[in-house]
Symmetry: C2
Subunit: 207 residues, 2 copies
DNA sequence: ACCTGAACACCGTTCAAGT
DNA sequence: ACCTGAACACCGTTCAAGT
C-alpha cells in the first residue's frame, strides 16, 4: 500500500474494539492539544473518523469518555513513578521526581476534573466508570507509601501521604495559569523548597 | 407599602449602579446555591429582574461577571483574615484559621477558576478585569506575610508564603469532591497535621 | 449490528427595535 | 440612554433511517 507510515489503516466496519481505541486516541490527542475546553464531541468524532452520534454507543457522555481517558493516564502515571519509587535514594529527591510526573498529568487533566473528584459525582451512579479511577489512584498511593516506608524507616504518620498529595496538587495548580504575576518563583525552585520543608517537617524530632 | 421585608424595592429604570448591584447580587446568590455549572445567563438575568441581553451592557462576558464576583469575595476574605492575622498567637493556629476561611471561598469559586488563573488569561487582554483580582490577592498576601514575620521573627525564606498558599489550595481541593473514597481523614485532622508539619519544616534548625 | 445525519433542547452572545 | 426579545451560532445528546 503506497501510504506514508503516519497514516493509520482504517478501522473496519463493525470493529468495536478498534473503534473504541480510535475514539480514545482522538480524545487524548484533542485533550493534549487544545485542552478540555474547546473539546467538542463533533471534533472528537471527526478525529476518530466517525459521527458524533456513534460516540454515544461507546461512551454514555462526554464526561465518561473523559473519565476513561483519565483512568488510562493515571495507569501510565503509576507505571512511570514505579521505578522512581523503587530507585529513589532520598525522600526529597523522590518528591521532586514525582512532582514532575504529576505536573504533566495535571496540565492535561487537572484543571477541569481532578483525580478523585470524578469518582463519586459520576461514580455514585455509575460504578464501572469510577472503579478504574479509584483503582489507579489506590495503586499509585500504595506504591508511594511503600517507598516512604523504605526511605523513612522511623515512625511515620499515616496523614503524611494525604498531605504530600494535597501539596503536590496545590503546587501543580499554582503553576497552571498565571501565578507569575503574584510571585516570581519558578516551579523547580518551589518544588525543591516544598520537598525540603516537608521532609524536615515530617522527620521525627530526634533528627 | 404592604411588602414583606424580604422583598427588595425595585431598581428604577436607568439606575445603572443599582442595576449593576442587582446583577452581582443575583450572580452571587446563584453561584452559592447552584455553583458555576448550571449557572445560566438567563437564570442570572431572571434573578436580577432583567433580560439576558442587558447583562452584556454591564459585563462583557459571563467570565468577566464571574471575575467581578470573585474580586468582591476576595476582598471580603482579606477583611475576614485581617483580624486573625493580627491576633493569632501561633503560626500553627493562624494556618488553621486561615484554612477555614479559604475553604469557604474555594467551595464557591475554587473549582472552576482559581485565584490567579483568571488574571492573565482574561487579564492580558482586559487589564481592568484582572486588576481588582491582583490587588485583592496582593493585599491578602502582604497581610499574611506581616503576620508570619511577627510570629516567626527568625530568618524566614521568602518561598514560605507561596508554599503555604499552594498547600492551602491543595487541601481545599482535596476536600472538594470525593476524596473520602481514598483516605478516611477529615478536614480538621489533615489541616491540623499540615499546619504542624509546615511550621516544623519551616522553623530554622536551632529550634 | 454498526453507523449516519438530521433534529432537539439549550447555551453564551448580539442586535434591531422599543420606550 | 436603558432595556427587551428575537435571533445567531454552537453545544451535548438523541434517534429514525440507512447499510
Amino acid at each position: 500500500m503506497p501510504r506514508t507510515s503516519t497514516t493509520k489503516t482504517r478501522t473496519r466496519w463493525g470493529d468495536r474494539d478498534g473503534r473504541r481505541r480510535d475514539i480514545l486516541d482522538a480524545g487524548r490527542r484533542l485533550l493534549e492539544r487544545r485542552g478540555y475546553q474547546a473539546f467538542t464531541m463533533r471534533d472528537l468524532a471527526r478525529g476518530a473518523g466517525v459521527t458524533a452520534g456513534l460516540v454515544y454507543t461507546y461512551f454514555a457522555s462526554k464526561e465518561e469518555l473523559f473519565a476513561a481517558l483519565y483512568a488510562e493516564r493515571l495507569d501510565r502515571f503509576a507505571a512511570d513513578i514505579a521505578p522512581l519509587c523503587r530507585d529513589a535514594v532520598s525522600a526529597e529527591e523522590l518528591f521532586v521526581a514525582i512532582a514532575g510526573e504529576y505536573r504533566a498529568v495535571y496540565q492535561v487533566f487537572g484543571r477541569e476534573l481532578n483525580v478523585w473528584a470524578v469518582l463519586l459525582e459520576t461514580g455514585a451512579s455509575r460504578e464501572e466508570v469510577a472503579q478504574p479511577l479509584v483503582q489507579a489512584a489506590t495503586a499509585t498511593l500504595s506504591t508511594v507509601q511503600a517507598a516512604i516506608e523504605r526511605l523513612a524507616p522511623g515512625r511515620r504518620d499515616p496523614l503524611a501521604l494525604p498531605l504530600l498529595w494535597a501539596t503536590l496538587h496545590g503546587l501543580c495548580d499554582h503553576f497552571t495559569g498565571a501565578r507569575h504575576r503574584i510571585h516570581p518563583y519558578g516551579w523547580d525552585e518551589l518544588v525543591r523548597f516544598a520537598a525540603r520543608t516537608l521532609v524536615r517537617g515530617l522527620t521525627p524530632e530526634e533528627d
